[in-house]
Symmetry: C2
Subunit: 154 residues, 2 copies
Amino acid sequence: VNPKPDASTASTDEGEALLATALRQRGGRVTPQRLVIRRVVGELGRHVTAEEVHAAVSERLPNVSLPTVYSTLELLEELGEVRKVHAGGDAVLYDPRPDDHHHLVCKSCGRVEDLDAAVDAAPALRRARRTGFSAERASLVVTGLCRDCARRKR
Amino acid sequence: VNPKPDASTASTDEGEALLATALRQRGGRVTPQRLVIRRVVGELGRHVTAEEVHAAVSERLPNVSLPTVYSTLELLEELGEVRKVHAGGDAVLYDPRPDDHHHLVCKSCGRVEDLDAAVDAAPALRRARRTGFSAERASLVVTGLCRDCARRKR
DNA sequence: GTCGCTGCAAAGTATTTGCATAGCC
DNA sequence: GGCTATGCAAATACTTTGCAGCGAC
């Protein structure tokens, strides 16, 4: 279990083939838009807005509409290739890392950063399951001030 | 540290006096709207939308506008009396429990429930601080299917 | 050849903003 | 009495929806 998969891995033809297979299994179509969107999200790195994805995709494949970007991102999330992250309240971001990891959210500027740290969520998950909740993932959200905002406030 | 404060405590005159003091310290005004909104949030119990707060407040104090509800909730969050919770993507909810606790979010119906479980976030917080992030709070978000949705999907 | 995905445009909705007024301090 | 918060209304912006045509299978 690699905590920090290489971005290049996530956007290779290999990953593309996996997506194609997954789509076909669902009875879905393998379209250029979907392939490009997936690849772009992986290459952009981290925490992109739908708008950013749209801009980046448009450079490679013109005439891709924003609604298509939204629906494809939603699809990728269902397939587990992307995670939706709800930031401080303003933006909804998409995170290309499908592995479980945590987030730092700045309550001042809304920035979201990754936090690689081990957190033992097992007791919480057990407890959740005992209440009848089918827990799948657990991620920690740490709120506070990012380095820049902390300096500015002082 | 009481993990589950009595709701009545949170909405007594005592709490009201604390809010009044905090407001005055900030150079703010103690208005009936603010007092009623705070009280209503405490009494409603859990995870209310701004709209719900507005409806409940309106029963006691007519002509309270939705913008006032929003700004007051924001204010209460800054004062630490309420916590903003970002649910599955659709709704923004306000949680009257200011103590640190965790949430179960159903990715199907968007319901949010409290999860009382101890999670050791200390390593994550240490790590965050080492990167220059001024961490204040950490809360775990567990995603999955709530009891009802899990049953329905089967 | 069929059926799903895309693109375009338009709608829907939650939240924010501006300004005059009322009311707390 | 000064200054802040409120109320009202309108605006903003993000996201979703409907429908016709194209294209994957």
